[in-house]
Symmetry: C2
Subunit: 415 residues, 2 copies
């Protein structure tokens, strides 16, 4: 057995205990929250090593910022863990039940998924966030973080493991892979004897590699090529406010928009107002031919490839469309199925968009930036699924569960 | 674009139409049922070619039987399709909904999965069964059957496609891959741009190959290494009836049992009775040391590997265990997580087993043979999932759906 296989076997054992641990899981979570505060100096010390190394290898200031764990962020992590402990426990909930003509009762109940693998990149707070959500839903977790945060991750994982053990649950409920070479994530993707699901959290490259190479079922998260379609019956002020918010409030996240589609009948009035607002944050517009006719020749030409691109930057593609159907067809072709929005005051057209657009979240007259487990009231989120299997959109605790059928009889046999 | 990529693109187009087709889907299903009956002679003619070929290449009589489509089976297929049309349509059902403090309403509704790929082996009736379930849930389907049934599959697929087109839905809602070389299934497993899920239906070898090689999300079906644990407080007559039924009523299916675990305090009384009943069907028992002490030395020795084996035959492994915990631990180690049963009259021990055993279906005092969509009242079944992601246990129409969030506002932006 390799080290990672051994971790898999230990996780499976821990998962058996967690699956029937009931409210002890909340004791463990509160114990973790206390321990994070108590040992904050150790975390900061380990984090400083990562920051030094990050500066040495020339990480950008924004990556250094993501990596940094000050006292406030550690308190934030602890608060997050406590919030997870206060969520209702889904395990054992009855989903459905019936009695068959032969007298058998069939009850479907929620159970944990079992063992969850999470592969993530630079942000060390994922260690505490993800582990606490998995634990609350009765799952053991194997974490594999990036090398940039390895010292921070090790410190946090050790503190959590000790805290879990302190309340009498197995410390192997939470395990961190300390080997950050490519080999370790490849091995994790082969661990189908032990892992029930693998969740990659990070950039498009990481996610694609996991989806293509994993033998373990994967929940695909995060890539967001999102659109706002400005209908001919849109309120132009509302459209420009929403586009401004959805593009610029945080351009680096998956629920930010990358392309706007504007109905031809409103384009002449709407586009200059939209541009005026975007100009205040120096957003580059890459437009189609008609866009350039309206906004002028200094607008950059949009290439076909721009419509496929998640810019994650102050760049916005723009296309003028002849009809709502052309808008919906454009979205069907280029979208990653994350969050899509229509701005309109026409009832029938709003309903058409809601029904025909295939995405995790479909919006009418609101910013796509709301696609988030916290905003949607799920309590906390492990990621945003962009696949259709198992979970779609923001995933909370419920999405970390499975179900089983309980069948009870008094001697029934099948004839 | 390869032929299979073109099929993927066509299926995606068809899926867009099906996702909003409403009750027209039922018209299509009834049109299919009528057409199957109307064209039964064509089906039988094509089927005869397959049967001749099957005899030439030396298929076993039971495989030839599975392959054969007489008038009765065709009527059975048509009745099955009509039954699917009469099921309630899940699409558009509201799963949950709430209003956020900022006035946004968030509603989660059921939507189709999109495009489903199904890889199956010799039974041509799967073509009609699977396609009708996919269609009812608003999905386009790409079928890839085995070469033994290719002529039958082609005839059935053509009839179904024409029948779907007749009611004004796209004929590419149902497509059959006519190339039955390994190349075509390999290509289907790479079709992640078009396929939302791939479901293999067949033997363990096929399923393993798909799980290991697919870049498309897979629902794993079917492998059943199922157990009956006979507790010290079991009713021995009930135990022997249930074991007899679960082993011999149809040994070749996934919900048949492969191993029994007998508590040591009841083994001396129970094992001879269990054996007496099994002897009437010449079931070979492969026993542990204690089993042999009780039943005699002519019992075959059980090897470690027997406990991992899905015999699908008149063979049953048997182990005497010291405690319910040893029984549960054995199941945790060797089971495929399909269907597991305890025979007991002790309330606390029944509950312990229900809670601690991790399987798609956990039974108390009833035969595992009931794990089936039809028996559980799901209307019809596309297969039995043995994974925990998305669907677990018998999968009906609901398991062929996904969901989306509809978010409606009046200009909300995220601050």
């Amino acid at each position: 057995m390799t080290v990672i296989e051994q971790m898999g076997a230990k996780a499976k054992e821990a998962a058996r205990v967690l699956s029937v641990a009931g409210s002890k899981k909340d004791l463990a979570l509160n114990s973790i929250a206390d321990a994070l505060i108590e040992h904050k100096d150790e975390i900061i010390k380990a984090n400083n090593i990562d920051i030094e190394y990050g500066k040495e290898i020339g990480l950008t200031p924004s990556l250094i910022d993501r990596l940094t764990l000050g006292e406030d962020r550690i308190k934030g992590m602890a608060d997050g863990v406590r919030k997870v402990s206060s969520l209702p426990d889904p395990i054992g909930n009855v989903i459905s039940g019936n009695t068959l003509p032969n007298g058998l009762t069939v009850t479907r109940v929620k159970v944990p998924l079992g063992v969850i693998g999470i592969i993530f990149e630079a942000r060390p707070n994922v260690t505490a966030d993800a582990a606490s959500l998995c634990l609350k839903a009765g799952n053991a977790v194997i974490l594999r973080g990036g090398k940039e945060a390895i010292n921070s991750n090790k410190a946090i994982a050790k503190i959590m493991r000790d805290a879990v053990e302190k309340v009498g649950l197995p410390k192997d409920s939470i395990q961190l892979i300390e080997d950050t070479t490519r080999q370790s994530s490849t091995e994790l993707m082969q661990l189908s004897d032990y892992l029930d699901v693998l969740i990659p959290r990070g950039g498009a490259g990481l996610i694609k590699a996991v989806v293509e190479n994993s033998k373990v079922p994967v929940i695909e998260t995060g890539v967001g090529n999102c659109h706002v379609y400005v209908d001919k019956y849109a309120d132009i002020d509302m459209a420009s406010e929403i586009i401004f918010n959805a593009k610029t409030s945080r351009p680096s996240v998956c629920n930010a928009i990358e392309t706007i589609l504007v109905h031809k009948d409103i384009a002449k009035d709407a586009l200059p107002k939209i541009k005026e607002k975007l100009d205040t944050k120096n957003v580059q517009i890459r437009g189609c031919k008609t866009t350039k006719e309206i906004l002028g020749d200094d607008i950059v030409d949009a290439e076909e490839s721009d419509y496929y691109t998640e810019f994650l930057d102050y760049i916005l593609a723009c296309k003028v469309v002849d009809s709502i159907d052309e808008g919906i067809a454009h979205i069907a072709k280029y979208s990653s199925g994350h969050s899509e929005c229509i701005i309109t005051n026409d009832y029938a057209r709003a309903n058409k968009f809601k029904k025909e657009v295939d995405a995790a979240a479909v919006y009418v007259n609101a910013s796509t930036r709301f696609t988030d487990g916290g905003e949607f009231g799920l309590g906390a989120e492990i990621g945003i699924s962009t696949q259709k299997l198992h979970a779609r959109g923001p995933m909370g605790i419920n999405e970390l569960t499975s179900s089983k059928f309980i069948v009870e009889g008094n001697g029934q046999i099948r004839v």
